[in-house]
């Protein structure tokens, strides 16, 4: 009964979306106020219906209702509750529903908190948001209905893929989609502005909080996915440049560029058409990601489906959703009046370089992702593009960006003092050089990028600190005044420092982990040990254990250094109930300096077990850096100046009401 209601709710949501997509748009064009005002209740109703459908699906999973097809395919009655619930989005149909839910959440938020948006802009934005909804709701109802029933209902389900039964991966899709789909509202704002024919500082100010929120969530989502891969896949790796990973990385890169260019629009009324373009493209990349993952067009270790008919639908959606706005852009953008002039060496100039580099980096990732497909279509040859390609292109391009990031904040608007900035950054330069020397000393035969990467990371780290200290004039006056200055510094400034700092930390972590990772592999009998980097891993025993829905071989390692035991590690090899493939659960001991990572493989039939251990320096810096970046984004978001609906300069708001 409830699944049917859920299905019905989706249909109702579609009806609402159709109304929301059409009437407010016409209302805005013709000045029919009631039609424009219809957008708000429609958005709220749409959200309510989709939320109901989502809860209905979740209920089906929670209660192990195997009469619903996807519950049978992706759940099992003996699974822990958290994985029954996360199974809701651990499949194609359910995750689509999550996508649409978040789409409607953002629409509802704008409807609720956009009180001092100009009515026309608000109406048009919500209308476009609804158009996207219509596309995805149709896709779901026509090709991927989550509520399809099985009759008769099986007695037991096929179990959620064991790889997905992990807390990190349970939270990864919601976080990622908040990011991905969050940019849809920025997209809608941009298209609405194009229709309006006007982009100004006020627009940029309204858009900023949505940008920040989406960016923060996307950062968290990508980081979660990477952290999961590290913990769960058993290879000590955390990024494989897999098409699906790249699909979530590209919106992040462009989204970062957008965040920075919107700043220029807001402060200097410049870079307008470029910012609009980025707004369209960021969400465009999100849609592209959806297409790549669900159409089966690209082989990936974790693609969702191989259904070409679904692929065609999404392609059509992609073509319309990006094609129409870009056509409008080609038409309208030339008429957007250019803004303030600035010297090339200025903060604006630095931000332009930032955008240029980020856009180019995104293009290289796109190229790398699509190249195998392109080659396959034209020559039939099958190739794979892996980490070496990306490091040689993306990695190299990232270096000037990191260098620039420390200098940019020192530059003034309109005209900046590069010389002065560099003089203040001398300390950072020295530290960076030192880091490079250390890198070469630790491993002189390592990858060439490593010392550069580490130097760039340290440069940015120290440089951001220096800028912060200067801003609060850390060495002038008494502590009370310093504290006062710190307290009154705008949150957005804190946000920037935190985000840049976080990135620096993450980059240092990435360089360390990638460049200095070592491993050892051996067959061990209980009582034997293997050594790595001065650590001794002694296999004490291997026993069988039973979890809620799996059986496992669990090994007990005692790790010691110089004869002192420092840790116990318990890696497992799990066999879940239904799916025949065993999964590895790595045991990790994390310290700020390095991770010790142990994995147990198959028994050799003679009482021994094959084991693999890794030593990964600085890898936990990656996760901490990401966390700091998210904190930075959220801090900026909390800046009162950027909250939509706050009584921002009423004069400006009045003037903007066109």
């Amino acid at each position: 009964m409830i699944p049917e209601l859920g299905h019905y709710a989706l249909v109702l949501a579609l009806v609402m979306a159709l109304a929301q997509a059409s009437l407010p748009m016409v209302g805005a064009a013709r000045g029919i106020r009631p039609w424009m005002q219809l957008a708000k209740p429609a958005a709220l109703a749409q959200f309510a219906f989709v939320a109901f459908a989502f809860l209905a699906l979740m209920q089906a999973f929670a209660s192990s209702d195997f009469s619903v097809a996807i519950v049978t395919q992706h759940s099992h009655s003996e699974q822990p509750l958290i994985y029954k619930l996360s199974g809701t989005w651990g499949n194609h149909e359910g995750s689509l529903l999550l996508w649409v839910l978040i789409l409607t959440i953002f629409g509802a938020l704008v409807a609720l908190f956009g009180e001092n948006l100009p009515p026309r802009l608000k109406a048009r934005t919500l209308a476009i948001q609804a158009m996207i909804s219509v596309g995805f709701l149709l896709f779901m109802l026509l090709t991927s209905n989550p509520f399809t029933r099985l009759n008769p209902a099986p007695v037991e389900g096929d179990e959620l893929n064991p790889l997905l039964q992990d807390p990190g991966l349970a939270m990864h899709p919601p976080m990622l989609y908040l990011g991905y789909v969050g940019f849809s509202i920025v997209f809608s704002f941009a298209v609405a502005a194009l229709i309006d024919g006007k982009v100004d500082a006020a627009w940029a100010r309204w858009v900023r909080p949505w940008c920040l929120l989406s960016w923060s969530c996307l950062t968290g989502g990508v980081a979660l996915g990477s952290w999961w891969a590290y913990n769960e896949l058993g290879w000590g790796g955390w990024w494989f440049w897999d098409p699906v990973e790249n699909a979530s990385f590209m919106p992040w890169l462009i989204g970062t560029a957008l965040l920075h260019s919107a700043l220029v629009v807001e402060k200097r009324d410049a870079l307008k058409s470029w910012t609009i373009l980025l707004s369209i493209l960021t969400f465009g990349f999100s849609l592209l990601g959806t297409f790549l993952v669900r159409s089966g067009i690209i082989t990936s270790v974790h693609a969702f489906a191989d259904d070409p008919t679904r692929g065609v639908f999404i392609l059509a959606l992609l073509a319309i959703a990006i094609g129409a706005p870009l056509s409008l852009y080609a038409l309208r953008a030339p008429t957007l009046r250019g803004g303030g002039l600035f010297a090339p060496l200025s903060r604006e100039g630095a931000l332009v370089m930032n955008n240029l580099l980020l856009a180019t980096m995104t293009a290289t990732v796109l190229l790398g992702t699509l190249y195998p497909l392109l080659l396959d279509l034209t020559t039939g040859k099958t190739i794979s593009v892996g980490a070496p390609f990306y490091l040689a292109t993306f990695g190299v391009l990232a270096l000037p960006l990191l260098l620039l990031m420390a200098v940019g904040p020192f530059m003034g608007w309109k005209r900046g003092d590069v010389r002065g900035a560099l003089q203040r950054l001398v300390a950072a330069g020295i530290c960076a050089l030192g880091a490079a020397i250390i890198a070469v000393w630790i491993r002189s035969d390592g990858p060439l990028l490593a010392p550069f990467g580490l130097a760039a990371g340290v440069w940015l780290l120290v440089g951001t600190l220096i800028e912060f200290m200067e801003r609060i004039r850390l060495f002038e006056g008494n502590p009370a005044r310093i504290w006062n200055r710190a307290r009154h510094m705008p949150r957005a400034a804190y946000g920037m420092s935190l985000a840049h700092f976080g990135l620096a930390v993450a980059v240092i972590g990435m360089t360390g982990a990638a460049a200095w990772k070592t491993e050892n592999i051996k067959v061990l009998q209980p009582g034997q040990s293997l050594t790595l980097q001065g650590y001794e891993f002694r296999l004490e025993s291997v026993g069988g254990i039973r979890g809620e829905n799996y059986l496992a071989d669990q090994a007990h390692f005692v790790v010691s250094r110089d004869g002192n035991a420092i840790a116990n590690l318990y890696p497992e090899r799990r066999q879940y109930l239904v799916q025949p493939m065993p999964t590895t659960e790595a045991a990790i001991r994390s310290t700020p300096l390095a991770d010790l990572y142990a994995v147990i493989g198959e028994p050799d039939g003679k009482g021994g077990w094959i084991v693999r251990v890794y030593h990964e320096p600085l890898v936990s810096w990656i996760w901490f850096g990401a966390l700091i970046m998210v904190a930075g984004g959220l801090t900026s978001l909390s800046d009162r100046r950027y909250r939509v609906g706050a009584p921002v300069r009423a004069g400006a708001a009045q003037a903007a009401k066109a």
Partner: protein, 153 residues
């Protein structure tokens, strides 16, 4: 600073960055691409020792042998087979008779040493590249005069 001047600088900067990017990309494409080959291709045209590539096919049943951390097995496309040695943990999805892709190179003694063994996270289907290679080897066989596909031994 006039608008024209500014635009000129912008165009210049764009060209420089794109130029650098293009150079990097072309270099990387030349050096860093990993080609996919089937056992038949490799048997007829032995790649140079040390040249990294991906080999795909089915894991021949009955050929998996483990000696400590070393494991060896045969990868076949039902037409030719290549013996692969690998030092490490096999992925959880690695099974005899299933599709597999191994990345590695031939060493100086003519032995294929795998650096990575990849299995797709889906039990029922094999990587499309492997399926394609099998298909191509089948077709190759047909034009050779309809011999029975090599039954794995």
């Amino acid at each position: 600073m006039s608008r024209k001047r500014l635009r000129l600088y912008l165009v210049l900067a764009t060209l420089v960055v794109l130029g650098i990017a293009a150079t990097l990309i072309l270099r990387a494409l030349n050096e860093e691409l990993v080609f996919f080959r089937s056992p038949t291709e490799v048997t007829t045209n032995r790649p140079d020792a040390g040249s990294l590539f991906r080999l795909g096919g089915l894991v021949e049943t009955g050929t998996v042998e483990k000696q400590g951390e070393q494991v060896s097995f045969s990868v076949t496309d039902l037409s030719s087979a290549v013996t692969v040695t690998y030092r490490g943990l096999l992925p959880d999805l690695f099974r005899e008779g299933q599709g597999v892709i191994v990345e590695g190179a031939f060493d100086d003694s003519g032995q294929f040493v795998a650096r990575e063994v990849l299995a797709k996270h889906d039990e029922t289907y094999m990587p499309p590249e492997v399926a394609k290679a099998l298909k191509e080897s089948g077709r190759w066989q047909e034009t050779e005069g309809k011999t029975q596909p090599a039954v794995t031994q």
